[in-house]
């Protein structure tokens, strides 16, 4: 359909975006790959030298490395589980006829607008702090010992904070999807005597599949590189309990200033992220065309 002329024009119009992104990807990535083969510590200037795969050896044998992989997965999967399940339930609830639906929706969406650093600071200090936090007060008022969230259950606490930020997003998308559901179909099935559970399984859930995929895709993109929440609350600790891959690379390159080692870590993180990306893209690609 499109003429040769418009194809050329189209290519021209896509070019700036592609070139920019390609540059954004390749130039820093090229430098990172190059640095990863160097002994390069910012604190020891003048000692840069070629070391081959040493940095990779040290990064991959770093005892924290496997912890970081495990933590990254725990964080991503934990938050996804909470936000998707919570999002579906909350969307179903908000989809019911209720008074003041608009205002309730406004309240639910609010955490999405809060800066990650702010939400982490608020949760850490005003809620989870075991001496002055609100949770400590609640625990004490029912006669329990205050729980040290960030010390005793650091990963769960971070999952909670991150889920709070992203639950509104999931809820909203799923709610919009629900509202586009054909009510006649639902009514018909109700007439046929299908119970609420069956109606959910056979009509609502399939309808939500596509929206759920979108939620998972976008959340994964953001969750893989969660950083601010960890930096503000636990600094990756205690020990390595909340060190994800992003934070581990940060520790290497910006706390130990071992740019060589950090770059090797960066390359590893990029490769792993791309594996996840390919996997996700496949899944999404199918679902979006359907």
């Amino acid at each position: 359909m499109a003429t040769l002329h418009s194809r050329a024009a189209a290519r021209l119009m896509i070019t700036p975006a592609v070139v920019l992104l390609l540059g954004w990807m390749l130039i820093p990535l090229g430098m990172t790959v190059y640095f990863s083969f160097l002994r390069f510590n910012l604190l020891a200037p003048g000692t840069e030298s070629w070391t081959g795969l040493t940095n990779y050896y040290f990064f991959l044998t770093d005892p924290s490395f496997w912890d970081a992989i495990r933590n990254t997965l725990t964080l991503v999967i934990g938050v996804l589980l909470i936000t998707v399940t919570g999002g579906v339930l909350l969307a179903l609830l908000l989809d019911q006829p209720i008074w003041g639906q608009g205002v309730a929706r406004v309240l639910v969406i609010a955490p999405f607008f809060v800066m990650p650093t702010v939400s982490a600071l608020i949760w850490k200090n005003m809620f989870m702090n075991p001496v002055n936090g609100l949770f400590a007060f609640l625990a004490k008022s029912v006669g329990l010992q205050p729980f040290d969230f960030l010390g005793q259950a650091p990963m769960a606490s971070i999952i909670l904070i991150v889920s709070w930020q992203w639950l509104p997003f999931a809820t909203l998308i799923l709610l919009t999807a629900l509202q586009s559901l054909d009510t006649e179909q639902l009514e018909a099935s109700e007439m046929d005597g299908a119970g609420p559970l069956n109606r959910f399984i056979y009509i609502v859930a399939p309808h939500l599949a596509r929206a759920t995929t979108v939620v998972i895709l976008i959340l994964t993109i953001f969750l893989l590189s969660i950083f601010a929440e960890i930096l503000v609350t636990t600094n990756g600790g205690p020990g390595t309990a909340t060190t994800n891959l992003t934070y581990l690379v940060y520790t290497q390159s910006l706390l130990q200033f071992d740019v060589g080692g950090g770059s090797a870590g960066g390359v590893v993180a990029i490769i792993l992220a791309n594996i996840v990306a390919i996997f996700l893209m496949r899944m999404i690609g199918k679902n979006l065309d359907a």
Partner: protein, 435 residues
């Protein structure tokens, strides 16, 4: 003749003002209360000098990361940076800082304690001017100790500290036996753990730079620390740093606290603290030795070699670390809040002595802390609570994380020290100290 010299003088002044144009300086500092006061008073300097300041105020760990990145990668984003006794000699030696020996006679270098100046110098020249200096000592709640009938010796042992903490621990009434740093970081929990290990007779490295983190003194010290905090500390100790503990102590929630002498100005300030009249202090605890039991630290201001505005920056440094500045803080904020530990004249000032009951003890602690001889056994490094080599930041942070994990109970002390030892060995190998 007079007219000529007058004219000459006038044109000279004119030339000077034309050259010294108004500059905009970017200053990075840590969000400790003394620096907050400096920020509050700085408009006076801005007015007098015509320059303006852009403030970047950050928490200690973040500040250190940002400043180090910037100076090491020659980012030149800052004209004035706040660094400590660890960075100043190393960075000065690397040529990253402007020398500061030429602030003028009226700056009175000799008024600054020699040990403080030495701690901020490399190769015989000064690279950072001290804003305040500190050692560590023990704060304790006199009222609680009195009502429990405890006599505090001049320098208690860590065992005694644990004993007192046990007696005074009363969480139901909101008082914990002891508050100590638990937040990971070489400048946070390791600043407490380091001197404690010294007192238990330990060291970071032997003379051949082999890490000693699984040696008996380390095991004893860290085991003691974890037990102490878990039994008599506040909940959540593994995320408490200096500032968090200071807030807890000032709020009356701690019976004992071993930390920076510089916090005394805050704890004894009735505007900031609820325990100003109920607190007393003693030297930092000892154990098998008292060598290296109190740390030595100075927060100081320096000018990166990459700054384009050295003259204006020097002028600010001179102002903010001068005798006159101490006087200014004393008069406007109360003498108890005057920046401590740097100048002899502060400790010769009757107003300061009467406002700050801790002055003499602090002075003694600072003067007796000796970074060059802080361990029972011989070592190849200087530093009390740190090791003055570039690699220490990374190692100290990692060990801090491990000990913080042991404190939180997610691993045992032995595991924490084994991991720390393995990491330290790796890093020292990477850096070529050991084979």
């Amino acid at each position: 003749m007079t007219l000529k010299s007058l004219l000459y003088g006038a044109s000279f002044t004119f030339a000077l003002t034309a050259v010294a144009q108004a500059e905009e300086l970017t200053i990075a500092t840590v969000n400790n209360s003394d620096m907050i006061i400096m920020q509050k008073l700085s408009p006076q300097w801005e007015e007098a000098s015509g320059h303006t300041l852009n403030w970047v105020v950050l928490e200690e760990n973040v500040l250190r990361q940002r400043v180090t990145t910037d100076i090491a990668a020659k980012g030149a984003q800052f004209d004035i940076i706040t660094i400590g006794a660890y960075e100043a000699p190393i960075w000065g030696d690397l040529g990253w800082l402007n020398g500061l020996d030429d602030l003028g006679d009226d700056y009175d270098y000799d008024d600054i304690y020699e040990s403080v100046r030495n701690g901020l110098s490399a190769n015989g020249s000064l690279f950072a001017v001290p804003f305040y200096a500190e050692s560590s000592f023990t704060f304790y709640r006199k009222d609680l100790f009195d009502s429990a009938g405890i006599e505090v010796p001049e320098q208690m042992t860590y065992d005694q500290l644990a004993e007192y903490a046990k007696q005074l621990h009363d969480p139901d009434n909101g008082v914990f036996g002891t508050c100590q740093r638990g937040k990971a970081g070489w400048g946070e929990n390791m600043a407490f753990v380091g001197p404690m290990v010294n007192a238990f007779g330990g060291r970071w490295f032997d003379l051949d730079w082999n890490p000693q983190l699984t040696s008996e003194p380390w095991v004893n010290a860290v085991t003691y620390y974890v037990d102490l905090m878990n039994n008599y500390g506040p909940p959540g100790a593994s995320s408490n740093g200096h500032n968090e503990n200071r807030a807890l102590f000032a709020d009356g929630k701690c019976a004992t606290w071993v930390d920076a002498t510089s916090a005394a100005g805050f704890i004894f300030n009735p505007n900031e603290s609820t325990v100003a009249d109920k607190t007393d202090f003693a030297a930092a605890p000892q154990q098998v030795t008292n060598k290296g039991a109190g740390w030595f630290w100075a927060w100081a201001l320096a000018i990166p070699a990459s700054s384009q505005k050295v003259d204006a920056a020097k002028d600010f440094l001179k102002w903010s670390t001068s005798k006159e500045y101490v006087e200014l803080v004393g008069e406007s904020e109360g003498w108890v809040a005057a920046p401590p530990g740097t100048r002899k004249s502060t400790y010769a000032n009757a107003k300061y002595i009467s406002a700050a009951p801790f002055a003499g003890t602090v002075e003694n602690s600072i003067l007796s802390a000796n970074p060059a001889d802080a361990t029972l056994e011989p070592v190849p490094y200087t530093g009390v609570q740190f090791v003055a080599i570039p690699e220490f930041q990374g190692i100290g942070n990692f060990v801090g994380q491990q000990i913080s994990a042991a404190l939180a109970g997610s691993q045992s002390v032995q595991e924490a020290l084994d991991n720390s030892q393995a990491f330290a060995v790796r890093e020292m190998k990477k850096a070529g100290y050991i084979q």
